[in-house]
Symmetry: C2
Amino acid sequence: MPSTARDIAMKGGGYYSRATIGAKHVIDGATPLILNSLERMSPPDDGSIFTMSDMGCADAGTSMTMVGAVLKEVRRRAPSRPIQMVYTDLPRNDFSQLFRNVLGLTDVASYYEEIENLHVFASGTSFHRQILPPGTLHLGFSATASHYLSEKPAKIANHVHMVGAAGAERAAYTEQGRRDWEAMLLHRARELAPGGRLALFNFGIDEEERYLGNTGGISMFDTFNALWEELRDEGSITSDEYVDTNFPQHYRTVEEFTRPFRNPADPVHRAGLRLEHAETRVVRCPFEAHFEEHGDPARFAREYIPTLRSWSESTFASGLSAGRPAEERTAILDRFYDRYEARVREAPHGHAMDYVHCYLIASKIHG
Amino acid sequence: MPSTARDIAMKGGGYYSRATIGAKHVIDGATPLILNSLERMSPPDDGSIFTMSDMGCADAGTSMTMVGAVLKEVRRRAPSRPIQMVYTDLPRNDFSQLFRNVLGLTDVASYYEEIENLHVFASGTSFHRQILPPGTLHLGFSATASHYLSEKPAKIANHVHMVGAAGAERAAYTEQGRRDWEAMLLHRARELAPGGRLALFNFGIDEEERYLGNTGGISMFDTFNALWEELRDEGSITSDEYVDTNFPQHYRTVEEFTRPFRNPADPVHRAGLRLEHAETRVVRCPFEAHFEEHGDPARFAREYIPTLRSWSESTFASGLSAGRPAEERTAILDRFYDRYEARVREAPHGHAMDYVHCYLIASKIHG
């Protein structure tokens, strides 16, 4: 099957879920952190509403198992409390698919029918704004979403991602990342009820300078950049298009993630948020792990590229001139990902999109 | 432009809103009923959350003006109260479009940025089930939605809609309509806070036996039925397909709408719901009114049929055998609506989809 036809076929049912199985592993593996925070919270069985939220939920598939486990524990501890589960994402998200997944109308296994007095809602309000009424959130969760910035702070002359930027360009991403993180935490602080918890699992740069797709082998973002440069050098894209192509993301260090909690004068600390837990973990790329079993480079390449394409294509598409006809844009993007696939097929070892996350648990103080 | 191409073109941006401008007139015209109920409710300015819901909201376009007027009045009366606006519809609804409309990201004028401390949510839970936690709803609204039954109770041998059914067939629709209405009201009674209000504006049969598209001229449902019979008689559809085609709807009389409130032994009455207001109104078909101005039968026919098609096509499509290829189904439906258009074009007078609604305001008693 030619690559384009295959990609389109894979974008049908299950495309997102298969492409993000690694993101599900990240959440499933850290579920005990959330259950432990619930134990510390010790929600009283007082009949009041208990609200949990997944902020940046996409189709709810990656968090489904975790949310089910946590809400069942809430139900066990507090049988009298109505539970509200609020899924949030940007307005363009497919909320119909989300509701069908959560309400058990698809082949995704859902907790919905197993929990009494459960009320599921969605919000299309960005987590860069306040979503819930003040003081009403008991358990806020967000995974693999806060690296997206509210705006792109600068162009990067020599790379597609801030991990390859330096000097003033790098500083601009760091500053935008700082502001967005502070605003994210302040909005959540207002939403949290006293004693409520936040579980925030986000892409970051760990103590050994590792980050997504850069854990000792071939760097994924450097590969993206090298192939995009190649298209520029051969004239397939213009120099302006190359420079206009930057992921609107910032990967924070642990120091950046935790700083707002550490200084008593920081607005986040003053808003009553306290850090209970911080750690980094590397979760292995499921496609590379699978390759170790089957040993077929072509299969690895064929299965691996769609997961990269699922979240990176919109960035590369947005860098292209608006004046290009749709077919031309599609052809450029197909060529780009086909070349990445060829690289992996021809020399597979070292390619892997290992996940590097920083896991934070925070609490809102009483009174 | 051939009819099919035109229909597809019209299904783009604004199709739903233009096709349902009459439904918006129904809601806008009855907004004072809701504002009056809010005045009787007299929500205290006590800082607690105020929740309004639009149940069966579609893309939120038809209720936007009314919801904005009502929420601004809530904000004026109770500046300290966070407001939750909860839009609900079935999971297959386009919630992304809904959020984009309400959040002000489309050309639909929205109230969203004009009201402080407002939190918008959606639910994909059917109003045939409980949607909100107990005792949390202050103002429940639903328009032009409760005629849809939770299931189709019977096939109708000689018509496509229950308004043309008699005997046991008619009785089966009446009974299903009674059960669904009772369940709808009981779920809402559980959700309502003491003193909360319901505003329910639904298709019905008025005291003069009028109903949607049947207000003295040519009956719309009889026309649907005659054209569907014609397709059967000429062999374009089978007799089984004809009999399998029934709107899963019940149009209630005022007596049926109000009975649960009148008998103190009725579960709805015992659940604390009290009727404050009931009336019927006829709202004129905007396409027929426009025809009176422009006088062009072809234009009237061309503009009128899409509004009928927007809500009726799924019923006629569902009556067709699942074994028919997609192109064949499309061709049958195109022929069907083309013939309706031809009827209107050739003899326009008497065609009109006047809206006939029953307007109810109910309250939940205190304690």
